[in-house]
């Protein structure tokens, strides 16, 4: 084992009452690709973002290169040798490639306060050449490049000769095979130069192939560490999964059946719909059917969901339900369409309001009699949902901002179940929800299907799309690139191919 580069001791991180990290100990040594795996929200990115100076820790200690480590910003961290490539796109629009590469380091090219852009462009070209990126030049505006190329710029920006530890946080999901090769080459190069890489990914294949040591997290705690031999062993995947989930989730995590049958009646129809970020989208959603839509985050799938609910402008084509044109949220709800937004806290919930208020928000017109809303009726409607979905709360009067993420999400589901929606469009229904609630959600969605409800599930998580959908639509660059039918043999790698 090489010299220790970074040592994390008893680190804790709290967001208000929510514990994101609990007494985490982690050691990164020279020459290792240290994998971090765990479910969403298990704390992988929290650890690395604290180490990279993006946010402060609540308590604990970090030692980097033998010294106390308290970076106050990403730039400071990078300057001292700890660089991070982020999950989200993180280039600055409206600037050139070179300006993006040297963001925060302009001083190196500045004289009397003016940046010598010729010098900067030349330095940028040198870096790009070193990475084997030839189709981009320093003087090019960043906006003319796609998502993947921008990601490569980020990678090139993160690494220089001083970098001791490189954090790769779910970067590969955004990259095509070519892009991945560039990244893998860079990681190999780091190891050759006796540096270290922290590698976060959901793709188990690459984790098993690349990592020399693997730490498994769950609910902010470290649940296990696998050394190189254990990683390469045959049963490693089973061990890792068990550590990640903490219990045997069995086959019933998603739907157990592989029957893609549904009723014949069309519940919601998109015909030739075009609009912002969506081109010629066609879909017939039937009763009793779960249609999944997947793709990279800019592919237009979220817009499709909003269009189905009348909350996004349609330039061409029609969205219809039961013969009615849907062009506003009012028309959508009148036709029993419900929409669970991806942006839960801003679009789906009134955080500064009670659970009762939130659950009944869409149903007030239905329960009012000659304009009168009976408070008893309202409380009863909410209570039924609280019991049905097992929302953990003291009473319906409790404010939603005091609930956990999972229970918040249950409230936004409850709103539409209370309304009696027959068609439910859900955008990232299990985002930021812990695994127990996740399983409950999947059960609920399956039950809704069995009741003959039509479900359009838009998600960034391939596993749940494959696990739940009767039909899976993959979108790329605003268009449908592929449609899959439910089958046991469908794997994530089959699907990813059509996303990028």
């Amino acid at each position: 084992m090489g010299e220790i580069l970074l040592e994390v001791k008893k680190m804790n991180k709290k967001y208000g009452p929510i514990v994101a990290l609990k007494d985490v100990d982690l050691t990164i040594s020279r020459g290792e690709v240290h994998g971090l795996v765990g479910e969403n929200g298990s704390g992988k990115s929290t650890i690395t973002s604290i180490a990279a100076g993006m946010q402060p820790r609540t308590s604990g200690e970090m030692i980097f290169l033998g010294e106390e480590w308290n970076p106050s910003s990403m730039i400071e961290a990078q300057h001292n040798g700890l660089s991070m490539i982020l999950q989200e796109a993180n280039t600055i629009p409206g600037c050139t490639v070179a300006e993006n590469l040297f963001a925060g380091r302009e001083n190196e090219f500045a004289k009397w306060g003016f940046v010598n852009s010729k010098k900067m462009n030349k330095a940028a070209d040198e870096i790009l050449d070193k990475f084997g990126i030839t189709h981009m030049r320093g003087k090019d505006p960043i906006d003319q490049f796609g998502f993947e190329d921008r990601k490569l710029i980020e990678i090139a920006r993160a690494v220089d000769d001083k970098t001791e530890i490189l954090v790769v946080d779910e970067t590969t999901t955004a990259l095509s095979l070519e892009g991945r090769q560039i990244l893998y080459k860079l990681m190999d190069d780091m190891i050759k130069r006796n540096k270290a890489v922290i590698f976060i990914s959901h793709d188990m294949d690459e984790i098993l192939e690349k990592c020399t040591i693997l730490t498994v997290l769950r609910d902010g705690e470290i649940r296990g560490v696998l050394n190189e031999d254990e990683i390469k062993s045959v049963q490693s995947l089973g061990t890792i999964r068990q550590l990640m989930v903490g219990r045997d989730i069995g086959d019933k995590f998603f739907r157990g059946d592989f029957d893609s049958g549904h009723l014949d009646e069309v519940a919601l129809e998109f015909s030739n719909v075009s609009g912002p970020n969506v081109k010629e989208f066609n879909l017939q959603l039937h009763k009793g059917e779960i249609v999944g839509i997947g793709g990279l985050s800019g592919c237009g799938m979220h817009e499709v969901g909003k269009m189905g609910f009348g909350m996004e402008n349609i330039d061409k084509g029609h969205v219809r339900s039961g013969g009615h044109e849907i062009s506003s949220a009012k028309e959508a709800t009148d036709n029993k369409i419900g929409y669970i937004s991806k942006n839960r806290d801003t679009e789906a919930l009134i955080l500064q309001g009670s659970i009762d208020t939130n659950i009944t928000m869409a149903s007030l017109a239905d329960i009012s009699k000659a304009g009168f809303i009976s408070p008893k009726k309202k409380a009863k409607l909410a209570k039924e949902q609280i019991d049905l979905l097992e929302i953990k709360c003291k009473s319906g009067k409790q404010w939603v901002n005091t609930l956990s993420g999972g229970n918040k999400q249950k409230v936004s589901f409850a709103k539409w179940i209370a309304k009696g929606s027959e068609i439910v469009i859900m955008d990232c229904p299990t985002r930021g929800v812990d695994i127990g609630v996740k399983q409950a959600m999947y059960e609920l969605i399956n039950q809704m299907k069995c009741e003959g409800k039509a479900i359009l599930m838009i998600s960034e998580e391939l596993s749940e799309l494959i696990g739940m959908s009767d039909r899976l639509i993959i979108m790329k660059d605003s268009k449908i690139s592929k449609e899959f039918t439910r089958s046991e043999s469908l794997s994530e790698s089959d699907v990813i191919e059509y996303m990028i």
Binding site: S328, K330, T346, I350, S354, M361, F372, P375, K415
Partner: protein, 319 residues
């Protein structure tokens, strides 16, 4: 743990405690300072007359403030309504015609406040500044045309300025407001618009429609309030209505209304606040405080209330 719970309860009800406590404090302090004159028969009549106009308009204003909006055109609206009511009544000899004229005008204002802001994509405060200027100009113009400093009503207002009638109007408007605010969609939606407009529209609520309805109801309250002011004073002039917009805002704040609106808004704020504000002004007067100092005292009280209620997280100042 128990202590923690009681602390939570306390902070939840802090605005209630402050507003009711403030009213009680005002009553106690000024009863003593005025040596009991605060509640003699004559002064009670004065109090009711003063409260009437504030309370009626404040109850309508609750619907606007609940959405996190404010309307600063009230003052100049009141001025024009009072003058028009008198002019029309004197011309036609019918008080009803006068009242209906200002009611119609107030409904139009409600529509403008609601629709124009939405259609032009402007914040409501902008349309309300627009209306304030228009009405301010109109008020001056009308008085200039009439070529007198103040105009008096030539109709017998004895019945309409009786304390009994004023109490009757307060009660009627209060019952309507409480019903609309607590037991109908309008009330629910104005609160939820204030708390999160986007989430409200994502629940299939046509927010524009309810905004306009809220402004229309407020308009009706302003018209009724202006009518009661006309009845009380019997005359109107260039200065009529000045300061009402701010007075109502102060009254609502004293009553514990959060300026950002939302689910913490309560109809009771309008009544509690109006009484507190009127007793504060009247009490200072009775206690022999000079008018110029009473402004300073009011300002200090106002500042104190804001400091206590707004300087916490999720406070009551507008977003």
């Amino acid at each position: 743990m128990k202590k923690h719970v009681s602390m939570v309860r306390f902070s939840e009800h802090i605005s209630d405690i402050l507003s009711y406590g403030g009213l009680v404090l005002c009553i106690v302090v000024f009863s003593i300072l005025s040596q009991g004159r605060l509640f003699n028969a004559y002064n009670i009549k004065i109090l009711v007359q003063a409260v009437c106009v504030y309370a009626i308009m404040a109850m309508g204003a609750i619907f606007i403030y609940s959405m996190g909006y404010m309307d600063i055109s009230v003052g100049s609206q009141v001025g024009v309504y009072c003058i028009l009511c008198i002019v029309v009544t004197n011309k036609t000899g019918s008080l009803l015609a006068g009242f209906l004229t200002i009611l119609a005008l107030s409904l139009i204002c409600g529509l403008i406040n609601g629709y124009v802001a939405v259609m032009l994509g402007l914040p409501s405060i902008v349309t309300s500044i627009f209306l304030m200027s228009i009405f301010g100009g109109a008020q001056l113009l009308i008085m200039e045309k009439l070529a007198i400093n103040s105009i008096s009503i030539e109709y017998d207002m004895t019945f309409f300025k009786s304390t009994e009638f004023m109490i009757f109007v307060i009660v009627v408007i209060a019952l309507i407001s409480i019903y609309l605010y607590n037991y109908t969609q309008l009330g629910e939606y104005v609160k939820s618009i204030g708390a999160n407009e986007l989430a409200t529209s994502y629940s299939g609520v046509k927010t524009v429609k309810w905004k306009v309805l809220a402004y229309v109801f407020f308009g009706i309250c302003v018209a009724v309030g202006a009518f009661m002011l006309t009845a009380r004073t019997g005359s109107a002039g260039q200065g009529t209505g000045t300061g009402y917009a701010m007075d109502i805002m102060v009254a609502l704040l004293l009553g514990g209304m959060p300026l950002s609106g939302g689910m913490k808004s309560k109809m009771s704020s309008s009544l509690i606040g109006s009484f507190t504000y009127v007793i504060l002004s009247n009490g200072l007067n009775l206690a022999g405080v000079k008018v110029e100092y009473s402004y300073v005292i009011k300002a200090v009280v106002f500042l104190a209330v804001i400091l206590v209620t707004c300087r916490k997280k999720d406070g009551v100042l507008p977003r």
